[in-house]
């Protein structure tokens, strides 16, 4: 029971933090409208799912029938999240490398001016 409440409180705090940050970024023109709406809807749904977990079970049953349990759904979700994390990590690494190449090149221009 206590763990249940703690998980809910933690999820709500995390969700609200992301929502506030997204709103803040949108106001400062760091986020475009499409991405702002996407994150707002996605994290609002996460908060709702945390507060009313039975609705998630009902939804899965409606969509896939009785054959697919919540465990299977969570398993697939985990694989998806890990795949997305992996892709983001690879992309971030490539971007870091490109930034490094640019910064090194600009830096070495100082040498030409000496």
């Amino acid at each position: 029971m206590i763990i249940n409440i703690l998980v809910k409180v933690f999820s709500i705090i995390l969700g609200l933090t992301v929502l506030i940050k997204t709103y803040h970024d949108f106001k400062k023109h760091r986020e475009n409208l499409v991405m702002f709406l996407f994150w707002m809807v996605a994290w609002s749904l996460i908060i709702v799912a945390t507060l009313f977990p039975s609705t998630v079970t009902l939804l899965i049953e409606r969509i896939s029938g009785k054959g697919v349990g919540i465990g299977t759904f969570i398993g697939v979700a985990f694989i998806f999240v890990f795949f997305v994390t992996y892709r983001i990590y690879i992309k971030a690494n490539r971007l870091e490398q490109k930034i490094k190449d640019i910064v090194v090149k600009i830096g070495l221009k100082d040498l030409d001016n000496i």
Partner: protein, 230 residues
């Protein structure tokens, strides 16, 4: 024989001036000594103070990390046609008198790269650093299959061949381990020479911490798996 001393520096205004002033002006077997400071986007007066003490100061427009700064330093040393490149820290933890010790095997053509190891004379080294260094040595060995007693040492000497063959992808402290990996990949002759470490309150704060160790590990694995394909 031209010797380049590459010093990556980030917010080292407190020490960079003295580090440069204390560098040797003459060394046996060396005709010219060229200190190259790479200011890695410092927010203090590192650049100005370095510029007062050496001709070659290169500035990164943003802070990327010691790995990127070292890469820039190596590139600059190559462009200046240096025969030997020495790397040392800007926080004053290295004794400039050790430079002649670590370049000797290169001058004698007995090594392509020399690691200045702090682990053979650990007197004065904080216990947490000793454990951390051995842990990183072990991880470096696991990832790159090359053993050293001080994989994380910032004081190294490389000859022209090593400097030309090695390629780096590191941005941060993982460059120390990547260098060891490059030694193995290019089949370079490596030697280890004990060096002194000057531990001041300032130099103890600087450098790697435990949390960074985990980051270095992830980066090393990424470099090992993806590095040469990029």
């Amino acid at each position: 024989m031209k010797l380049a001393i590459v010093i990556p520096a980030y917010n080292e205004a407190e020490t960079i001036g003295n580090v440069l002033k204390n560098l040797p002006k003459k060394l046996n077997g060396v005709d010219q000594i060229v200190p190259i400071v790479v200011d890695d986007g410092s927010m203090d007066k590192t650049y100005d103070l370095a510029k007062k003490n050496t001709r070659y100061v290169i500035r990164h427009v943003v802070n990327l990390g010691v790995g990127a700064a070292t890469t820039t330093g190596f590139e600059a040393a190559k462009r200046l046609n240096s025969d030997i490149v020495v790397t040392m820290d800007a926080d004053g933890q290295h004794n400039p008198n050790d430079i002649k010790k670590i370049i000797k095997p290169i001058l004698d053509r007995k090594a392509d790269i020399v690691i200045g190891t702090r682990m053979l004379t650990i007197a004065g080294m904080p216990i947490i650093k000793i454990i951390g260094n051995w842990f990183m040595n072990f991880i470096t060995f696991l990832v790159f299959r090359k053993w050293t007693t001080d994989s994380q040492s910032g004081m190294k000497a490389l000859n022209k061949k090593a400097c030309t063959l090695m390629t780096f992808h590191s941005l941060g402290y993982e460059i120390c381990s990547e260098i060891i990996g490059e030694v193995k990949r290019n089949n370079l002759a490596m030697k280890e020479i004990p060096i002194e470490t000057i531990y001041t309150d300032y130099s103890k704060i600087k450098g790697q911490n435990w949390l960074n160790g985990a980051n270095v590990l992830i980066k090393m694995i990424t470099i090992r798996l993806l590095g040469k394909k990029r």
